[in-house]
């Protein structure tokens, strides 16, 4: 039972990070029907930039409290990722908005490769470790361990999701985004600057991704130029699980996927009699993805959309 609870806690923490990244996929897909392949890489760049800033700050001002240093890292990573996403959209996606579907998908893959390899040239092939700046307090709860960091991740993630929800549902920009998602043409006729709304969508997604990138590197204690790939895939799976294009769905899908993965990795050995072990953890996201696409392509919360177009 305590293993169950422990894995549940781990899954929820990881899942809230997936949910944050999934938001970026789902928002862009909702508006452009484009799988922004490079989103995982934007997350990785966020983590890397933050770690660089943290490294510099630790050398320059060793007396600063650890939380402040990490916060400074996040605060630099956010605008960096926003600028990056703005540039990506403008250079690689906007000119292709009317091209055949395959074209922007291929550029997205290209951008993803470029970012990954640039990161490798800048930060090297080796793992960059996250310095032990954050307090390592742990609580015990019904036999499961919960660290302060885990609680902070979940609380921050929930806050961001609530903020995004408010933004989309209540603000002027949010209304413009929803209108654009329904029909670009009609939104334009109503006086919405569609180009600006699309840029804003990319930028908001990137800001959230930057935070998620720092979270994931703080949680695992390391960052790597390759980390965005798997993270992006899982987040995309989460977005599909929840119903792509649906913001609440991305949140739900992320949390669910995190839990499925953690429980799956914890129990797969027992279920298969030791045939498969926990190193198959990365496989679960794909199985979930394939199962969802087969049995409920619109996802858990998605409306029924025609899947041929």
């Amino acid at each position: 039972m305590d293993i169950f609870l422990q894995q549940l806690v781990n899954g929820l923490v990881l899942g809230s990070i997936y949910a944050l990244v999934a938001l970026g996929y789902t928002m862009v897909y909702g508006i452009l029907e484009l799988i922004n392949f490079a989103h995982g890489e934007v997350t990785m760049i966020g983590a890397m930039v933050a770690l660089s800033v943290i490294g510099v700050l630790m050398g320059a001002a060793p007396d600063l409290p650890g939380v402040m240093v990490v916060l400074a890292g996040i605060l630099v990573a956010i605008p960096a990722c926003m600028a990056l996403a703005f540039g990506i959209e403008k250079i690689a996606y906007r000119p292709l908005r009317k091209a055949p579907r395959l074209a922007p998908l291929i550029t997205a893959i290209g951008v993803s490769i470029i970012l990954q390899n640039l990161a490798m040239l800048i930060w090297g092939r080796q793992y960059v470790s996250f310095p032990p700046l954050l307090p390592t307090i742990r609580f015990e709860f019904l036999g499961a361990h919960i660290s302060l960091l885990q609680i902070a991740i979940v609380v921050l993630a929930v806050t961001i999701m609530a903020g995004l929800w408010l933004l989309v549902e209540k603000s002027r920009l949010g209304r413009a985004m929803r209108a654009t998602a329904q029909s670009k043409e009609v939104a334009q006729l109503m006086g919405v600057n569609v180009d600006r709304v699309i840029s804003a969508t990319f930028i908001i997604g990137a800001a959230i991704a930057a935070i998620a990138g720092v979270m994931v590197s703080a949680y695992y204690g390391l960052a790597h130029y390759y980390m965005g790939f798997m993270l992006g895939l899982k987040a995309f799976s989460a977005a599909v699980l929840g119903g792509i294009g649906n913001i609440a769905g991305a949140m739900l899908g992320g949390l669910l996927l995190g839990v499925i993965e953690a429980l799956g990795a914890g129990y797969i050995g027992d279920i298969t009699g030791g045939f498969l072990g926990s190193h198959y953890q990365d496989v679960f996201a794909f199985f979930v993805l394939i199962l969802v696409l087969v049995f409920r392509p619109s996802g858990l919360l998605g409306e029924r959309v025609a899947n041929r177009a």
């Binding site: 250079i91 292709l96 009317k98 290209g110 490769i113 470029i114 990954q116 895939l233 794909f286 025609a306």
Partner: protein, 367 residues
């Protein structure tokens, strides 16, 4: 000169045949024997690119896990013709089995996903590619199926009628190393594949694929069984991949999961996109260029060492970066590829009016 050749296709074919037959000798004497090995890989990649072109170029289905079928072909070959299980079946039995297994997996993966929209297919195939790799990497316990990350070695070379391709052949006082022998074997398979691909393109099936690629709803309305046709494209592409995988295993004598990463899938995709999707000469050009360029890039490393005394930027690090830039640049500036098919060229150069009409039909389908 080209014009006079065009008017005499027979002569052109004869010249091409002589050139292809003499190519390993030209490369071998001119640039060194390591380039014959490069040639072998060029042919393997042409084979792969032609297979993927059926899926992506003809039917318009973006498959990002293509290398998984290559891996399956290679592993099946290794299981049936290596000391791993003590089986040593002849290659003419093993190759079709590998290709069939890959084709079967193509159907298994395609059946549930092909009724979905194209971009979902891209992600699912990508996931499938990773799943296969993860399994190959981990299936060394509890019983040793794939030998894990170490990979499988001592795979039997191809041998035909007592002639083993693993050893040099002495012919008329000349010594032909294995790389030369495999060149001719691969050339035969590649030419066969090219022929099949050409014939497919203009067949009823090929036209059905083109119709599905252009407008699936309209194709279905014309009585094309779109799901079966897409499945066929998928399975056929997978079969080509499995065949290339088997040849690869026999040629290398060693395989490991490292050879079957996502980047290989993307490399093959790059070849198609760069050369010209759907157009066979373009695809061949893409495969040749993208296999040769990294080899040529090695000289950049030597150049740096000669001029600067040390290596500033490792060319192998630059390789993927350049591919990424090429993908984006091609889509932006020459989306139909270096050697586009006539139809594609028209499609991409279509006036905005046409593009908007297509867009409109998209919205219709959604409503």
């Amino acid at each position: 000169m080209l014009d006079s050749l065009r008017r005499r296709p027979r002569l052109a074919f004869a010249l091409l045949a002589v050139l292809l037959a003499a190519l390993p000798f030209i490369m071998g004497f001119g640039l060194g024997n390591s380039w014959v090995r490069v040639l072998d890989f060029v042919l393997l990649y042409v084979l792969l690119a032609i297979g993927l072109n059926i899926v992506v170029g003809y039917a318009g289905l973006l498959d990002l896990g293509y290398i998984a079928f290559y891996a399956l072909g290679a592993y099946v070959y290794a299981w049936l013709a290596s000391p791993h299980f003590g089986l040593h079946l002849p290659f003419w039995a093993v190759l079709p089995i590998g290709a069939a297994v890959a084709g079967l997996f193509g159907v298994l993966l395609g059946a549930p996903t092909l009724r979905l929209r194209g971009d979902y297919l891209a992600i699912v195939t990508l996931g499938f590619g990773e799943i296969i790799r993860i399994f190959m990497n981990n299936l060394n316990a509890p019983f040793n199926l794939t030998n894990g990350p170490q990979g499988m070695n001592l795979i039997d070379p191809v041998s035909v009628a007592g002639l083993s391709f693993g050893k040099s052949l002495h012919l008329f006082g000349m010594k032909l190393p294995p790389t030369y022998l495999y060149y001719y074997l691969f050339l035969a398979f590649t030419l066969l594949a090219i022929l099949v691909a050409f014939r497919l393109q203009d067949s009823r099936i090929g036209r059905a694929w083109a119709a599905i690629r252009e407008d699936e709803v309209a194709a279905a309305a014309m009585g094309i069984n779109t799901r079966n046709m897409k499945l066929l494209a998928f399975a056929m592409g997978a079969t080509f991949g499995g065949l290339a995988g088997g040849l690869f295993a026999a040629f290398q004598g060693f395989i490991s999961p490292e050879s079957f990463t996502l980047w290989e899938s993307i490399l093959v995709l790059c070849m198609i996109v760069l050369g010209g999707m759907g157009n066979i000469p373009g695809v061949i050009l893409g495969a040749v260029l993208l296999t040769m360029i990294p080899e040529a890039l090695r000289y950049i490393g030597d150049l740096q060492r000669a001029t600067l005394g040390h290596i500033v930027v490792d060319p192998s690090d630059l390789r993927m970066l350049l591919f990424g830039v090429a993908l984006v640049a091609m889509m932006l500036f020459r989306p139909a590829g270096l050697l586009p098919s006539r139809q594609r060229k028209r499609e991409f150069a279509a006036e905005d009016g046409v593009a908007e009409q297509e867009q409109a039909s998209l919205y219709d389908a959604k409503a």
